[in-house]
């Protein structure tokens, strides 16, 4: 297939060619970036929390008299433990997708070697076990872990990713770290994973710390319930009644009560909505672009009927005609990819500036190119077949 005649034909339709090239370029730019954002959102949706989401639920109480917290916790625990199907109930302070206390930790008291913003979760002795967190090093909390050591150090569990950040070359176990007002912690365990309460798509999404506390030291009325996944819904239905009966002097915090899986879905809702919206836009975009190609090629075929007839009369086969239009479209899309790639990076720069998005990998440009080429070939097929069907006899009519 010769490319030269295709080029010289396109030069006769400079304006229309420019239009369709521009459309392809814009489509490429939007397609790359939308696809990139969608993939980022989907990655967020699949994020691993490190806990047994499907068999856990959380119940949070609010609006009670702080002085009576111990009493309220005791009554609530009694009520929750009485619910059918609930195997364990633990008191916690903060959970993934609910909330957590944030603080900066450092490996030296002054924080001169860098501070790392981490999320702090607290729970009673067995909470870590109930969560289903995997320990890579150290042991699950025991009674003696609950009291501070002689040198007033709290024992903490940190995630592997935080440990690597704090001590890149060393084993974290047994090390000391500092936080807040010079409070000192000793690492007694390394967790494989425990996601932050409000994870974002960054390298710090797993920087969490867990500390086991005595029941009396808790400062919130938050409970972690564990049950068989299929009994969790039924158990939660009973929670409202049980709490109204047991703790009429507190209210259920609906925003932080429910199955952990549901709270996760709620947290990621806007990511899912964005992904759906952009995916819909991409589909519509492809449809519209295909439409433009069909319309324009249809016009060109009609305009060149006579020339096609002449070519056929001079011995060109149907396949030659078909290939001509396919090559033409291939060239147009290729022409569009050059400004398209530039535009894509311009769009990406705007997104990077406003939405903390990373740089667009070249990979996405390749994908957009392949998709647009395929789309172009598909769209051009109909008009090109019509062109191939032009009989040679057309050449003899004037």
């Amino acid at each position: 297939m010769q490319i030269r005649p295709v080029f010289s034909a396109l030069r006769h339709h400079r304006f229309t060619t420019a239009m369709i090239v521009l459309e392809i370029a814009l489509a490429c730019a939007v397609l790359c970036n939308a696809c990139f954002v969608v993939v980022g959102q989907l990655r967020m949706l699949r994020i691993q929390s490190g806990i047994d989401e499907s068999s856990l639920a959380v119940v949070t109480l609010g609006n009670f008299d702080r002085d009576r917290l111990a009493d309220i916790n005791a009554r609530a625990l009694e009520g929750l433990r009485g619910i059918d199907g609930v195997t364990t109930v633990n008191v916690v302070e903060g959970l993934p997708f609910v909330d957590a206390g944030g603080a900066s930790v450092s490996v030296d008291p002054e924080g001169q070697r860098g501070r790392y913003a981490a999320d702090f979760y607290f729970g009673d002795r067995d909470a870590l076990r109930t969560l289903g967190v995997n320990l890579l090093e150290g042991q699950m909390p025991h009674d003696e872990d609950l009291s501070a050591t002689a040198d007033d150090t709290q024992r903490v569990y940190i995630t592997q990713s935080l440990a690597r950040e704090l001590w890149p070359h060393d084993d974290a176990l047994g090390k000391s770290m500092w936080c807040c007002n010079g409070a000192r912690f000793r690492v007694v365990g390394v967790m494989r994973q425990l996601i932050r309460a409000m994870p974002r798509d960054d390298g710090a999404s797993n920087w969490s710390v867990f500390t086991a506390k005595r029941l009396g030291e808790m400062s919130s009325a938050q409970f972690l319930l564990r049950a068989e996944p299929d009994r969790l819904d039924a158990a939660l239905r009973q929670v409202r009644m049980a709490m109204a009966r047991q703790v009429p002097d507190a209210t259920l915090d609906d925003s932080a009560t429910g199955k952990v899986g549901d709270l996760r879905d709620r947290y990621f809702h806007s990511n899912r909505a964005t992904a759906n919206m952009l995916a819909g836009t991409m589909l519509a975009l492809l449809g519209v672009t295909a439409l433009g190609i069909v319309g324009l090629t249809g016009y060109w075929v009609q305009q060149r009927r006579k020339q096609i007839g002449v070519r056929r009369a001079l011995g060109a086969t149907r396949a030659d005609i078909l290939h001509y239009f396919q090559t033409e479209n291939f060239l147009i899309v290729a022409l569009g990819m050059v400004p398209g790639g530039l535009l894509a990076y311009l769009f990406n720069m705007a997104l990077m500036k406003h939405y903390e998005l990373p740089r667009l990998p070249v990979f996405y440009l390749l994908i957009a190119a392949v998709v647009l080429w395929l789309l172009g070939q598909l769209a051009v097929l109909g008009p090109a077949m019509r062109a191939a069907a032009v009989p040679p006899v057309v050449a003899t009519r004037s």
Binding site: E23, N33, N63, D67, T251, H269, S270, L291, G295
Partner: protein, 440 residues
């Protein structure tokens, strides 16, 4: 003339129904997608208090001290700064604001208590923000100084507790203490909840919670402080870590906002001078270290806090880019449509039609397509907004097409298709006469 062009356009469009339908559809999809997102953007970034917002200001100072000294004005104030500035009464109206949550039930009702959001404020909050009352009214300034147990409740809470009846004078139990209801609001839906948006700056775009409905219970701030233990109310931040906080009045924490109403540039300048003077005085007294102040108006303050959710902004941009593609596409299709009729145009030109006439006729045709695309696009916009309303977002109920956006839909559709039609129409009007007639 126009009627004739219109008739010609309709005839021409009817000749190739599929192509016409495709063009209308392309415009409609572009308009539908972009208008849905632009309407959401318009509703969320609109002025929450039209006519009044230009007079409302949010004074800020920097009361922080080491170890957590900040370099600029901070988003909220400590109790002392807020009450000093408020008590000076240097503005037309002024209100203090702090929020919290509260347990609400009726005395001796036996019903489980409800958790409701609470706004601690002062009496001028209601007139300053044009808050409408259904029954009764706000509390008086003397209620404030005497720490009276009075409250104002929302129409929604009144519906829930009293079935919508006039509940003024009845009692309500808040966290166990009884208060008397002084007034019931009409349905009031500020969007965003502009007087309480300082968290927006720290939410990294996940700001849809700033669009939730207004609070259900309003209490005089001094009464509220009697009812809550220290640190039961949410604070912005504290600059003295680790000190035991025994009262919110003396806490080294920022947790109260001050709003003032000032009309005229003179009043704003005077207030700015007063604010600077206060800060200087506090600095001399050793209570402040920084001397920065800021007096943004309502819209500046909302803007500074990045209140519009990040994903809404991004989707609006994407939708606009999509509309652009739809337009270029329409341009291509119009071009092929007009040029297909080169023969006909040639004949008309040969019979005396001027270029201008051909151009005008082509543009009318583009306009008709735009209008049809606008109608279908409007329906698609309604569908899109219906989908937005079904999302579990705090702003979902706000996603309605208002009159400016409805008009905007059609204007955008017609203007866009006319723009898309200009170049193709120009090309069509320049069709060389002789050549076309020869090929007929």
């Amino acid at each position: 003339m126009f009627v004739h062009y219109f008739d010609l356009a309709l005839r021409s469009l009817r000749r190739n129904k599929v192509l016409t339908a495709l063009m209308v559809l392309a415009i409609a999809v572009g308009i539908g997608a972009s208008m849905t997102m632009l309407t959401v953007m318009h509703v969320l970034s609109g002025d929450p208090l039209p006519g009044r917002s230009g007079q409302l200001y949010h004074p800020q100072v920097n009361p922080t001290l080491p170890p957590r000294f900040q370099s600029g004005p901070i988003s909220a104030m400590d109790y002392r700064s807020a009450t000093d500035l408020w008590g000076a009464h240097r503005a037309e109206r002024q209100a203090l604001i702090a929020n919290g949550s509260v347990r609400v039930n009726l005395p001796e009702s036996g019903q489980p208590p409800l958790a409701r959001q609470l706004l601690l404020t002062t009496s001028e909050f209601f007139p300053m923000f044009d808050v409408p009352f259904r029954y009764g009214g706000g509390w008086s300034a003397s209620d404030e100084t005497s720490h009276a147990r009075v409250a104002v409740i929302s129409a929604e809470l009144n519906q829930r507790l009293f079935g919508g009846a006039d509940s003024v004078g009845r009692s309500l139990r808040l966290n166990g203490s009884e208060v008397r209801i002084a007034g019931v609001l009409e349905h009031w839906r500020p969007a965003p909840r502009f007087y309480d948006v300082w968290s927006g700056r720290y939410l990294k775009g996940r700001t849809s919670s700033l669009y939730q409905a207004a609070e259900d219970v309003y209490l005089p701030i001094f009464t509220g402080l009697d009812m809550f233990a220290p640190m039961e109310l949410p604070v912005h931040f504290c600059w003295a870590d680790g000190t035991k906080i025994t009262s919110m009045q003396s806490a080294p924490c920022s947790w109260i906002s001050l709003w003032v109403q000032l009309s005229g540039t003179e009043a704003v300048r005077d207030y700015q001078r007063f604010l600077d003077g206060y800060v200087q005085q506090q600095k001399q007294a050793g209570r402040y270290q920084g001397e920065q102040t800021w007096l943004p108006d309502l819209m500046q303050w909302v803007e500074w806090n990045h209140v519009v959710p990040g994903n809404v902004r991004m989707q609006a941009w994407m939708a606009v880019a999509f509309l652009l593609i739809c337009l270029i596409n329409t341009m291509c299709l119009l071009l092929s449509k007009f040029l297909r009729r080169s023969g006909e145009i040639g004949v008309r030109r040969a019979m005396g039609a001027s270029r201008r006439t051909v151009f005008a006729q082509c543009l009318v045709e583009a306009g008709v397509i735009g209008l049809a695309g606008g109608i279908v696009g409007w329906l698609l916009t309604l569908l899109g907004l219906w989908l937005v309303r079904r999302q579990p977002e705090a702003y979902a109920d706000l996603a309605h097409l208002d009159l400016p956006m409805l008009v905007g839909t059609f204007v955008l559709a017609v203007v866009a298709s006319l723009l898309a039609g200009v170049l193709p129409a120009l090309r069509a009007s320049r069709v060389p006469i002789g050549l076309q007639i020869k090929t007929l």
